[in-house]
């Protein structure tokens, strides 16, 4: 009908993909990015029906219908918090598809040197990607222990399985020697390696690992593309391979970890349990704090002695100005005994030029916390310590700022220092609390810098 329509369409597809990816890498245009990519994908799929020599069209339509509807419905139904595992599982599907294509390719073509080699590589990577992604999914979904699964001799075993995968892969290239069983074993080892490699990785590191598998899937698709001589697949796959690799590095860096460390250290395997207080302290980076602020509808700042020590008041004022310029209302919650002298916070904030109508004392603001998106606790400790609500605590009887009732709390402090009272603060372990470590002045500066980029 339309003889070679698919070639120019694929070119357009690629353009759209790149534009889409470009837009997705800026917060303001991100949303439209996926639309571009989505449109391109729809066209590419449609035009493929007109590929020369296509059979099994009904089967194809049925396959797309089944896979498509499951994927769509599942993705729309799950809770927002379960998104990471969804990414993992869909990525695994892509890897699986790539592996399957390579398998078909290896079964049909009676070998053509380079192309077969690429198909084998695609198959191996696809296999690792699908099984690894599935394990990642299971762990994140809680259907498998989130903690790293380790056993003695784990590393050697993994290396042996990897070598076996490679060996069988090479064998497959020699149709004379290898048969269907070789191919089967090759796939089994590849899939096995994906599983073994993922077991020792803990839940917290999963996003990095998923990103890695995502890049791998991209690579596998590119290799399939080569062997199919389909440059749309080559370009899109390579694009994802490169972008995904860099993304993996960036994500690891944002967690202050190296990739090697994530993959091979079984991080968190020996995590200690805290006797008394449940939950754990969750560090946060200034970049992410900035984003939380950028998308908040209301912000309250609860300053304390640490703001005074850091002399961060000017920076805090600047942050407030910046947020207000983005139409995000900011209030200050001034606790009666914050700091080390009566009115300590007033003096500092006045010095920084914060106008009085921003300041609210405990009684005026406590009711606001439950409706507040983000509370910044800047160097305050005792005055936000929920222990004060408990009889018998050293802080008992002091009315506190109810910051723990807010949707998100970010606590700025340098390290493990305690407040004036010297007692531990369970707020820091709460689910909705994140810790931003570092001198308050520096941390606020960094947030300002990041906010300006958004």
């Amino acid at each position: 009908m339309f003889p070679d329509i698919y070639d120019p369409v694929y070119v357009v597809t690629i353009i759209f993909f790149i534009v889409g990816l470009h837009r997705m890498s800026h917060p303001r245009t991100a949303r439209s990015g996926i639309m571009w990519a989505g449109g391109a994908m729809a066209i590419a799929v449609l035009v493929t029906f007109f590929y020369p020599g296509m059979h099994n069209l009904t089967l194809i339509v049925v396959g797309i219908a089944i896979g498509g509807s499951i994927g769509w419905i599942a993705a729309k139904r799950v809770a927002m918090t379960d998104m990471p595992q969804m990414v993992a599982i869909y990525n695994g599907m892509g890897g699986g598809a790539a592996g399957a294509i390579a398998a078909v390719e290896l079964l049909t073509s009676a070998s053509n040197g380079a192309y077969s080699a690429l198909a084998v590589a695609g198959a191996a990577i696809g296999g690792i990607s699908i099984s690894g992604s599935v394990i990642a999914f299971l762990k994140l979904q809680g259907w498998m222990r989130q903690k790293p699964i380790t056993y003695p001799g784990q590393q050697p075993v993994n290396i042996i399985v990897l070598l076996a995968t490679i060996a069988f892969g090479v064998l497959v290239l020699f149709p004379g020697i290898a048969g269907f069983n070789t191919l089967l074993l090759f796939f089994i080892f590849a899939i096995g390696y994906g599983i073994l490699m993922t077991l020792p990785i803990g839940g917290a590191d999963m996003p990095v690992v998923i990103s890695l598998y995502n890049a791998l899937t991209g690579l596998a698709v590119a290799m399939d593309g080569f062997s199919l001589q389909n440059y749309a697949m080559v370009v899109a796959g390579t694009l994802v391979g490169a972008a995904g690799s860099l993304l993996t590095l960036l994500m690891a860096k944002a967690m202050n970890r190296s990739i090697g460390n994530v993959l091979f250290s079984a991080f968190g395997a020996k995590e200690e349990e805290n006797a008394n207080i449940t939950g754990s302290m969750k560090p946060v980076q200034p970049e992410d704090a900035a984003v939380m602020l950028a998308y908040a509808n209301s912000v309250i700042i609860a300053p304390g002695y640490g703001m005074a020590v850091a002399q961060a008041q000017q920076k805090v004022k600047e942050l407030v100005d910046l947020l207000e310029s983005k139409d995000i209302p900011v209030k200050f919650a001034i606790h009666p005994v914050a700091g080390r002298m009566p009115g300590h916070m007033n003096v500092l904030l006045a010095e920084a030029g914060v106008s009085y109508d921003h300041l609210f004392d405990r009684d005026e603001i406590n009711a606001d916390f439950p409706n507040t998106d983000v509370v910044l606790v800047i160097g305050a400790n005792d005055v936000v310590n929920p222990a004060a609500r408990r009889e018998g605590s050293a802080l008992a009887g002091m009315p506190i700022l109810d910051v723990d009732k807010a949707k998100n709390v970010i606590v700025f402090k340098r390290g493990q220092g305690r407040g004036f009272s010297g007692i531990e603060n369970e707020l820091f372990y709460a689910d909705n609390t994140k810790m931003l470590y570092g001198d308050a002045k520096d941390s606020v500066s960094k947030i300002i810098q990041e906010l300006k980029k958004l």
């Binding site: 020590v309 002399q311 002298m341 009115g343 003096v347 802080l395 008992a396 009887g397």
Partner: protein
């Protein structure tokens, strides 16, 4: 039976404050407490009788009947012995007792089997912060001290570059960086002075710097229990003296707030040091009441010696009577929470750490050791 809380006009000289402000009165009357206020009690702090009566207080002109009806008498300073005699037996007095200045009154309380809580003895635990009248009044005192220094100084505090030459900023030195000292630092800095401060407690260093001022470091750590300072060793005193000496001679204004509770204030500035100061400099001695941090201080007076003006104000918080009364009154409100229950009835739990700590006279006995010695030792 609902408790009757009474406030009489303060009689001590220069005392413009009042123990309860209308805002707090209305909270008390709402919870069923009967509040008696002497006519004109809040006058000098600019709280009118009208404001009190609309807050639910009964305004009484007869001082005697107020005193005789009170279950709880709220004061800034204890009444004269003669007036204490008018109080019912077992009546409660709450306020600053300043035992050393009011020996006779305390004795009378003991004789009359009154119960007296001294706010200056409230332990400085977290729960008691809202009752800490020492802090609230020191806050105001520190603020006012900086104003007094600026007022007596023949110089501008801030730096000004003008067509008529550049005025260099004044150097203000704060000795003793407790509550009052910190507030004085903040206020002097607000006015544009270059501020340095010194305290024997090392922890004060961080606090001083947290207000943007410079801390004079001397390698001594002398913090004792409860955040109060201990007395210094002679050698420490000497080193300190040398450093302070130097800083004093450079200063345009010195504000001293050093105190050691229950003792005479430490002597930080001698007569010779004053003679080494620049003409026109000013010393404001907040410790005048307890003997003064400067040798030349005349409590309640102003001394000019060698072109240096030495101000020894008594009761500085009393010079900001409106807000000083408001804060004191809030402190009392919190304290009354330990003495009066939610239905407005008397319910004193003498085992409570705060009440135990601040109980000075009870049941014909002086409960505070130092005061007991002071009162009965003299007997």
């Amino acid at each position: 039976m609902a408790v009757t809380v009474a406030v009489a006009k303060e009689k001590s000289e220069g005392e413009k404050r009042v123990a309860l402000v209308p805002e707090v009165v209305s909270r008390l009357t709402k919870s069923g407490v009967r509040v008696l206020v002497e006519s004109g009690a809040g006058e000098e702090a600019y709280y009118t009788d009208g404001a009190y009566s609309s807050a639910g207080a009964e305004i009484m002109h007869d001082r005697k009947s107020i005193l005789s009806q009170a279950d709880v008498l709220l004061v800034l300073q204890p009444p004269a012995p003669a007036e204490i005699a008018l109080l019912r037996e077992k009546a409660i007095i709450i306020g600053f007792m300043s035992a050393s200045k009011n020996v006779e009154s305390i004795r009378k309380m003991k004789e009359r089997k009154l119960t007296a809580f001294a706010l200056e003895l409230v332990p400085r635990i977290t729960r008691a912060q809202s009752m800490d009248a020492l802090s609230s009044q020191a806050t105001i005192g520190g603020y006012k001290a900086a104003l007094v220094a600026a007022d007596y100084s023949p110089k501008l505090l801030p730096m000004l570059t003008t067509a008529a030459g550049t005025i260099r900023p004044a150097k203000v030195l704060i000795l003793g960086a407790g509550v009052a000292g910190l507030m004085a630092i903040a206020t002097a800095r607000r006015l544009g002075a270059m501020v340095e401060a010194y305290d024997v407690r090392r922890a004060a260093g961080e606090q001083v710097r947290s207000l943007g001022a410079r801390f004079l470091e001397l390698q001594i750590d002398a913090e004792a229990a409860g955040g109060y300072a201990r007395e210094l060793t002679p050698e420490e005193k000497q080193k300190e003296q040398a450093m302070v000496n130097e800083a004093v001679s450079q200063a345009d204004a010195v504000i001293t707030t050093a105190n050691i509770p229950g003792r005479k204030a430490p002597r930080l500035i001698s007569k010779e040091m004053v003679s080494g100061m620049k003409p026109g400099s000013v010393i404001v001695d907040l410790a005048a009441e307890t003997g003064g941090n400067c040798e030349l201080t005349k409590a309640g007076g102003v001394v000019v010696e060698n072109d240096v003006t030495i101000v020894g104000p008594l009761n500085l918080p009393g010079q900001i009577p409106f807000h000083a009364s408001q804060m004191y009154s809030k402190n009392l409100q919190s304290f009354l929470g330990l003495v009066i229950d939610r239905e407005g009835k008397l319910a004193v739990n003498f085992d409570d750490e705060i009440l135990k700590g601040s109980l000075m006279v009870h049941d014909g006995e002086i409960r505070h050791a130092q005061t007991k010695e002071l009162v009965e030792g003299r007997q």
